[in-house]
């Protein structure tokens, strides 16, 4: 049973989606930064996908050089502020903090990072230098974390950058796809504004690149192209009744929730399908939207879920119930969802078997599919010589992020199949360096 009341106002919504990692105040930052040991060859740096010099920026916060701390962070990660808030720090930097070995709480690195960057963003002071123009032009497809990071790095190297974005806001899933209790839209967007104001890359909104002709034009007009498209809409389950009213993809559900907030309609009984972090987010969000019953259903065992343990715990603490070893075999209802028909599963010789004779129905008014996003394979086929792996992920050189078509570079979810903002930010930056190397051969 959910403990959350249905939010009917913006204030209710904010209460139900209280920020998990609120901004530190200066006193908190002062005491927390004092605890850092300044480890040699610090494990937190190694655990950070962007290798931020964490002990350095914490020392800088301690000595009240907050702007210097922000520079240290942005120097390694252009989405430093968003990452400080949304990174799964418990399994990255904070998970590597040596204090864990003696049961001392690890340094709250994410929140300190957010403190430094947020404080500096609010000063609106110029802290970055645009590189001297080299006359070369780069097109970026997708203004998500990978594209933005790539654009920022390229601007510091003197390239002209134009980003083509299908939607009307920048930062991709960071603004459309992250649970609202992890980060607010304002927080995401103000970092992009801060970066864009200083670095001056152009973003063309509602400008999807979809056709061969558009690609040809990009190839003619630009010296290199970075693909940061991420993934597509939620994929199909290929089961009966999936087209019924009330069946929605998790990505689409979260996007709606982030834009409509308390006005999003969530009925009283919801089933969420999936076992990844997005499923946990969607289930937690359903409960926080006041659904009386939210059931998380995963086809395999609890141990096999891809979601982080803390994400599952968070969903459970929001009042979500879970069902394991069940696979949806049909959506029932007359035109509208009335339930999900599940078959039980079991592991036989290391393979998951569906027990077709063991079937039951869970009544609900809404089904959220968090079973993965569709790949952009058909788009990639429009580009000559672009190689993909068996899971439709773009193949790139792991240092330069150059694809099999030398003019194209790629990073983020399009390459890794769906990971964290921090991974995309790293890819984008590395790809920019790869482009620079390629164009200066």
């Amino acid at each position: 049973m959910s403990e959350y009341k249905r939010p009917t106002s913006e204030a209710d919504f904010k209460k139900n989606f209280k920020q998990k990692k609120p901004l530190m105040n200066t006193t908190e930052a002062f005491y927390e930064s004092s605890r850092c040991l300044f480890c040699y060859d610090a494990p937190c740096i190694q655990a950070c996908p962007t290798h931020i010099d964490i002990p350095l920026f914490i020392k800088q916060i301690q000595t009240k050089n907050t702007e210097g701390a922000a520079k240290t962070i942005f120097d390694a990660n252009w989405l430093g502020n968003a990452c400080g808030i949304v990174c799964p720090t418990g399994v990255l930097c904070e998970g590597a903090c040596v204090f864990n070995h003696q049961n001392v709480p690890p340094i709250q690195i994410g929140r300190l990072q957010n403190f430094a960057t947020n404080t500096t963003i609010d000063t609106a002071k110029d802290i970055f230098k645009v590189g001297k123009s080299n006359g070369k032009k780069i097109a970026i497809v997708g203004a998500g974390p990978a594209g933005i990071a790539c654009a920022c790095e390229l601007r510091t190297l003197g390239y002209d950058v134009t980003i083509y974005e299908a939607k009307d806001k920048p930062s991709g899933l960071a603004v459309h796809g992250i649970a609202p209790y992890k980060i607010t839209n304002e927080e995401v967007l103000k970092e992009i504004t801060f970066l864009q104001n200083q670095l001056g890359f152009e973003i063309l909104y509602k400008s999807p690149i979809e056709t061969k002709e558009q690609l040809k034009k990009l190839e003619e007009d630009f010296d290199a192209i970075f693909l940061g498209l991420g993934l597509g809409k939620t994929g199909s389950l290929e089961i009966d009744g999936e087209d019924k009213k009330g069946v929605i993809g998790a990505v689409e559900f979260i996007e709606e929730l982030r834009s409509k907030q308390h006005l999003t309609k969530v009925p009283s009984k919801v089933v969420v399908l999936g076992g990844g972090n997005t499923a946990m987010d969607a289930a937690s969000e359903s409960a926080r939207m006041g659904a009386k019953k939210t059931v998380l259903a995963y086809r395999n065992s609890k141990e096999k879920m891809k979601a982080y343990g803390f994400e599952y715990d968070l969903a459970i603490s929001a009042g979500v119930d879970s069902l394991f070893n069940v696979v949806p075999i049909g959506i029932v209802g007359k035109g509208k969802v009335e339930g999900v028909r599940f078959a039980k599963t079991e592991m036989v010789d290391g393979k998951l078997k569906t027990k077709n004779n063991d079937v039951f129905v869970v009544r609900c008014d809404m089904v959220i599919k968090a079973t993965g996003q569709a790949k952009q394979g058909s788009f990639y086929e429009l580009i000559d010589n672009l190689e993909m792996d068996s899971q439709t992920r773009l193949k790139v050189n792991n240092e330069t992020f150059q694809t099999s078509n030398p003019k194209y570079f790629a990073g983020g979810d399009a390459v890794n199949g769906g990971a964290e903002v921090v991974n995309a930010a790293y890819d984008g930056k590395m790809a920019a360096l790869g482009i620079h190397q390629y164009l200066n051969k």
């Binding site: 605890r35 040991l37 480890c39 040699y40 060859d41 301690q62 040596v98 864990n100 070995h101 003696q102």
Partner: protein, 441 residues
């Protein structure tokens, strides 16, 4: 149960915890409150000639999140009317006849000394403390540290005071001198009944990085203040030791002052020969209530060790404090790291490699971060155990069998002082010192 009462040069008090002459002893109100809280004595804020104080008056040295590790002030002696102070001394003694009330005095001419001594004796003070230490303001007028730095002048004034006083006289020494024995001996020869030390140390605690003025800032300017607080304790203890080991000076009791805050500090000062202590900064930081930790700890220590009075252990550390030339050159300790508690911060490694003797190696496999001691290079310097943030993780283990003993003095006497660099006991022998170019690898 331990008896904490003392008889200090004829001044009786229920315990050795006295308040130093300073802002906490500015009024009868404060002193009565302190006695209620458990303090055994108080040295009244120095009485003397009329003064005018400035605003502001205090500055601090903070270390990371530790406030007031060091503290300084540019406040002068009392600015309250002498008559008020005398009346309040009388009142305090009425309420607390068994507690020690000592009048700190600072005037200039012999006639002034004689008059003020008469005044405080009439008010019922149990003793007099001569303020020869104040390092700002008063010294410019020929008083305070101006006297403390001139042993001959100090001796003369002590003689004047002794001739006039019929209550015990304590001479408080300034540490702003290269050799503390000189004023100590002058005070002894002048006939003082006791010595107290140290007064504050001339200092600049910090510079404001916007106004370029030292703290505390008085209308854009500052001056050297008197430094005190936990940071000065080592200097105070060293000076106390010099007096307590002196054959003549040690005939009079010594009151220890300088950075005392906890029972451990009190015990250390007593072990170095003090038979009472004075406290100021700890009270200015935490209030009079801090004494309850000192008293409880001192009692616990005395009970654990089986001491009945503080005189049972006064000066017990003095025989162990010797000159370097008498230290045993055959003694050898080596660091040992407990791999079970080591958290892998590797601060010991970098401290030793960059700051000491290159005697710690990082692990060669990547499965852990526990470093190891290179025993042939370890000189037993302690540095690693000092930087280690984990309780009892690095210990210094004795390696010699304790049968051999030789000191520099003995070797000098035996004409065995080394003339080459290959002596068996030489610190560098057998050590591997990396080549300078190894630093660039």
């Amino acid at each position: 149960m331990a008896d904490l009462s003392i008889n200090f040069a004829g001044i009786k008090a229920p315990n050795p915890f006295w308040l130093a002459s300073a802002p906490p002893t500015n009024s009868g109100y404060q002193i009565m409150k302190a006695f209620e809280a458990g303090w055994g004595g108080a040295v009244w804020k120095t009485l003397g000639v009329p003064v005018i104080n400035v605003s502001s008056r205090y500055g601090a040295v903070n270390y990371r999140d530790t406030r007031m590790m060091g503290f300084n002030n540019i406040e002068l002696i009392t600015d309250r009317p002498l008559a008020d102070n005398l009346r309040e001394i009388e009142e305090v003694k009425k309420y607390f006849p068994d507690h020690a009330v000592i009048a700190s005095l600072m005037v200039e001419s012999r006639a002034e000394w004689e008059q003020i001594i008469k005044d405080v004796q009439n008010a019922g003070a149990d003793g007099i403390e001569l303020n020869f230490g104040c390092p700002h303001g008063m010294c410019e007028r020929g008083m305070g540290s101006a006297v403390g730095q001139e042993p001959e002048v100090l001796k003369t004034i002590v003689e004047w005071v002794k001739a006039a006083a019929n209550i015990p006289v304590i001479t408080k020494l300034s540490p702003n001198i290269s050799h503390i024995v000189d004023p100590g001996l002058a005070a002894y020869q002048g006939g003082t009944d006791a010595i107290s030390l140290i007064n504050t140390i001339k200092s600049i605690v910090g510079i404001d990085l916007d106004s370029y003025a030292p703290y505390p800032v008085v209308d854009g300017k500052g001056t050297n203040g008197g430094y005190c607080g936990p940071a000065v304790k080592p200097i105070a203890m060293h000076m106390l030791k010099d007096l307590a080991q002196h054959p003549e000076i040690s005939k009079v009791p010594i009151c220890g002052i300088g950075g005392i805050e906890t029972w451990r500090d009190v015990v250390e000062f007593i072990l170095l020969g003090a038979t009472s202590v004075q406290v100021c900064t700890a009270v200015m930081h935490y209030g009079f209530g801090i004494v309850r930790e000192m008293e409880a700890g001192l009692r616990q220590f005395m009970d654990d060790k089986g001491y009945n009075t503080i005189y049972d252990f006064t000066g017990k550390a003095l025989p162990n404090i010797t000159e370097w030339k008498h230290l045993n050159l055959e003694h050898k300790v080596v660091a040992e790291i407990n791999p079970n508690t080591c958290v892998g911060c590797d601060l010991c490694y970098i401290a030793c490699d960059d700051g000491a003797h290159q005697a710690i190696a990082l692990p060669t496999d990547l499965t852990n971060r526990v470093p190891s001691i290179i025993e042939e290079n370890c000189v037993g310097c302690n540095l690693c155990s000092l930087v280690c943030p984990i309780e009892n993780c690095i210990t210094m283990v004795k390696k010699d069998d304790g049968t051999k003993h030789s000191t520099w003095a003995e070797r000098t006497d035996a004409d065995q002082v080394p003339t080459t660099f290959d002596d068996d006991r030489a610190g560098g022998k057998g050590h591997f010192v990396p080549k300078p170019s190894d630093a660039l690898k």
